[in-house]
Symmetry: C2
Subunit: 195 residues, 2 copies
């Protein structure tokens, strides 16, 4: 394998642009078509290169997806936010994150039929959402459950709005989304189980 050190800030290689183009095209295809329908050939065509280049740079389709599905939710620190506002704040952030990055869509579409993608999704919520929630709740043992509940609503919203495109859900503007989903997320984060 050619030197691909992750830590070195060495000189840029001539192929870096190509690598990036492949990754971008891969994200778009995986997001639009899911794992199996996103073909290496189509991704290569989008990146204006030969399919064999994809193999050379990323080994195989699985590894390409793994590289393309690297994602950071960039969750804000909610400990400084008034407790009654954390639901709306988190909701607004998630919606924004979803609308400005294909990666989550790729993860969602692929995660439904691909085991590795599903595992990624699990890690995403456990490793990134989990800690943020843990810093918020009184009993830290409750954190994974509460993070999971948030995931049900967040992913369900994304699924119905961006994938299945249920018309009434698509029609909602940002403010309405936050107004409707915010209190739900708030309750999952800070509320009691008994209504």
């Amino acid at each position: 394998m050619t030197e691909t050190g992750s830590t070195d800030t060495g000189k840029a290689r001539r192929s870096d642009a190509t690598r990036a183009a492949i990754l971008t095209a891969a994200r778009e295809r995986f997001a639009a078509d899911g794992y199996e329908r996103a073909t290496i050939r189509a991704i290569a065509a989008d990146a204006h290169i030969d399919p064999s280049m994809v193999m050379r740079y990323y080994g195989n389709k699985e590894k390409l997806f793994a590289a393309a599905a690297e994602f950071d939710l960039r969750l804000p620190d909610l400990t400084g936010v008034p407790r009654e506002e954390v639901g709306t704040r988190l909701t607004a952030h998630l919606v924004d994150r979803w609308e400005h990055d294909d990666t989550l869509m790729a993860l969602l579409r692929a995660g439904v039929t691909n085991q590795a993608a599903a595992e990624r999704m699990r890690q995403l919520f456990a490793a990134q959402l989990g800690p943020v929630v843990a810093a918020l709740v009184a009993d830290r043992a409750e954190a994974p459950l509460r993070a999971g509940l948030v995931a049900t609503q967040a992913l369900g919203f994304a699924l119905t709005r961006y994938v299945l495109c249920l018309p009434p859900v698509v029609a909602l503007d940002r403010a309405a989304v936050v107004a409707w989903l915010g209190p739900t997320i708030q309750r999952y984060l800070t509320g009691e189980q008994d209504a």
Copy 2:
């Protein structure tokens, strides 16, 4: 085409068992693998027949899916239920429906990558959940939106529990699911937008 009248209650044909076996196998495969990974060959093997029989009886893969994805939510009439209980009642019913029938799973897994399946899902919520919600809300114009919101939470729960298998969500028992999701559904059905 052989006589396949939909209205006739004529004598059962010898091939009806085969037809049913194909449909059952198709539902299981579509539910487990999604649309593209569920192959005609695998379905035929499960049904212990030749792949060409699937084609003869259902024409092509698309039509087979259409037949396999026929589904009735069997939603109860909620007009007689105390208003503050409709959320938990609907939640409990949906969970039960989901756990005892592969069809919804097939619809969900396929709907993420297949247009026809997504369209089915849209019709399902519009035609079956819509009216039930409409009978419940004061302003009927709000019904589609409220049904859509219910869909976000219901499908999101199914996605995280049965497809992505987030551990904390999988761990919930039936009572806990109803206790957590019930109030959310209740608010989407009968609550005001401003918390």
